[in-house]
Symmetry: C2
Subunit: 397 residues, 2 copies
């Protein structure tokens, strides 16, 4: 008696969330110190002190009717201005208030973008491996996810396959760099190549194809890599952002969507985003936290913390003989399963209290994802288990 | 190039939001003191002091990783427990943690309920006049709104018509008491009569029909009327609540959905709500404000303030010869248009700076809605304009 789609969703459920729950259960059964939970992208560095200060200041000084009241469905004007100014300063863009819609996190943002753009049967192209939730978001609007097969050598987008998969039904090409689950950061020339393919296809098919960039990890890049902002590479680009990772606020549900004026139908899209925010039931991004992120938009999370974790985990696992993709961004490590059935490997790891997510949850079997947004101590202590696991699978060293 | 549904939504847009924007424009053109904006249900009493205190205390004392981090998609367990305890204490229910899902306001709550229950083509019965957004929420899931014609004498549900409209496609009967837009509060015997009809129809049609109660105005009742909680009248009841009005937090987007264990398929529905929260992009209700409402769940808004406004507006307009439904709850006054075209009446009122919403926005032409969640001074000063309007329409007195 529940809807067919939800009955289906319940069967599939989220492998990530399932592992997260299992980790919590194991922790209560065996003791938290014996569980090494690499399942969820829940930041491990606290929000910067300035967030706490901004919270208290705002609660203290702002008129409560304004602070907790309704505003335009796209958000407070001054908050949107802060977002626009910040982007303009960093990336040389020319956004103004009207280009920014404040959203209930990046998930809320992607849903209003999809609601605004997608008719039933439209296709959204994604590059495997990809965040499994994208499929649910497309399904909300009866659109179809079209997967581009992974490039198993470096996990950069397979551009030849992209070209083949674009059809008259393609409305969106969705990219996510720095990438979840692989930790790969697309180099500029990859972005340029994608843009060139899309421009050709727009011309050939005489229709708009939107490049939607899901950027919750924008600032999480290592080894001196440069943050890239996509609107300057391709006209019809829409950017979704979240403060979940950059300010460690995932539970607060706060982000924005930016649409440049030069994008085709920008005006209609911006109006559509505002109305979608309303009718999908978000109404507006939470008000107090809008004000807080406006005050803290120049802050950054503790990159050094994640960088140390990254090195420790990558080097530790590589030394044990595991094959890992060296992460360049986000806070995920993508590791080849030494078992041809990666689900079996995930189960085997649980014996040692280690929780990982299977690659097939990201449409890429044979790999596993480890989220290293955890305490360094946990990574260190997990190595005993990984050592046994490596031995079990007869890995060299 | 935007989706058909959104293109349509943009044409229709929200009459309420349109008037809200127009009010703001008029205020900047003619001066705020010359505009009397009765358009939007934006509370006029500030959040209780305890909210501010809870905000600062929580920010001060709670571990920021917990305070701003992900939790289960249904919300923090301790927060859900507070909601359950509060309902049990007040209404003699027996909710526990698992019966409560924290939501992004009542709008978010209704959307996850609809997502969980509705297949395309399913019908949702509403009693006109009703909050226009319900139609958009049903459309999100390709379900159909079926309107029961208004009972123009007292604006209580037309029960004979309800009986006629229930079919095999009926999945939900949606009620909203205290009512937006009429301010009517359903008496207990009306609730009992609806319950009886639904029980008969469930038996006759051999299927579940869920009574979904949208209760953002639950506590806003006057003249000593009793707050009513619906689960004890009908087994298959689902309650959606919001703290927007009771704690004056509409911008914060915080509420909950309660599903009693005795409801048919309760377990599946609760699982469905959690997964819907995730895949519709809410992920979870905003974390900090969850903690705050848990601490303030026993607080009430300033009912005396609204009650005074209610009397002043109702008596003022009645004295001028307007025909009004005496409001018993919420903060809306429902007034008969003295012009057979209520849209013309709304336009005429604008000459005097008065902003109202036309009844046809609530599927009930011939009436207008005035939200009296405004300052008493504004009501007082608006009377000069209303007097001219009454004269223009030749009303007696």
């Amino acid at each position: 008696m529940i809807s067919k789609k939800i009955a289906q969703a319940l069967e599939g459920s989220s492998a990530i969330r399932a592992m997260f729950r299992e980790g919590k259960e194991m922790a209560s059964r065996y003791g938290a110190e014996n569980v090494f939970d690499f399942s969820l992208g829940n930041p491990a560095t606290p929000a910067p002190d300035s967030v706490n200060k901004a919270l208290k200041d705002t609660a203290e000084k702002m008129d409560p009717l304004m602070l907790h009241g309704y505003m335009a469905n796209a958000g407070y004007e001054d908050v949107r201005k802060s977002m626009a100014d910040n982007l303009n300063k960093r990336f040389g863009t020319s956004f103004d208030v009207h280009n920014i819609t404040m959203t209930v996190g990046a998930a809320g943002g992607l849903n209003i973008v999809f609601k605004t753009l997608l008719d039933p049967g439209d296709e959204v192209i994604v590059f495997a491996p990809y965040f499994g939730e994208y499929k649910s978001y497309a399904s909300n609007f009866d659109a179809k996810i079209v997967e581009v097969e992974p490039n198993m050598t470096n996990f950069l987008p397979n551009l030849e396959k992209l070209r083949e998969k674009i059809t008259e039904r393609t409305k969106i090409v969705l990219i996510n760099t720095p990438n979840n689950p692989t930790g790969v950061v697309y180099p500029e020339k990859t972005i340029e190549a994608i843009a060139e393919i899309l421009r050709q296809k727009e011309k050939e098919l005489k229709k708009e194809i939107y490049l939607v960039s899901d950027e919750p990890y924008r600032e999480l890049v290592y080894d001196g890599a440069r943050e890239i902002f996509l609107t300057k590479y391709y006209r019809d680009t829409i950017v979704g952002y979240s403060f979940s990772k950059s300010l460690s606020l995932p539970g607060e549900r706060i982000g924005y969507v930016a649409v440049p004026d030069e994008a085709a139908y920008a005006e209609e899209i911006l109006a559509g985003l505002e109305v979608s925010n309303r009718i999908l039931g978000f109404v507006n991004a939470p008000s107090l936290i809008q004000q807080v992120v406006a005050k803290c938009v120049d802050e950054k999370t503790d990159l050094v913390f994640y960088d140390k974790n990254r090195r420790m985990l990558y080097e530790g696992l590589s030394d044990l003989g595991f094959t890992c993709i060296r992460p360049q961004g986000a806070f995920y490590l993508w590791m080849k399963s030494p078992d041809e059935e990666e689900e079996r490997f995930v189960q085997a790891a649980k014996k040692y209290g280690i929780i990982m997510v299977k690659g097939s949850a990201f449409a890429c079997a044979g790999y596993v994802r480890l989220a290293y947004c955890v305490s360094p101590e946990m990574i260190e202590r997990s190595m005993t288990g990984f050592k046994k696991l490596a031995k079990e699978y007869g890995l060299k060293k």
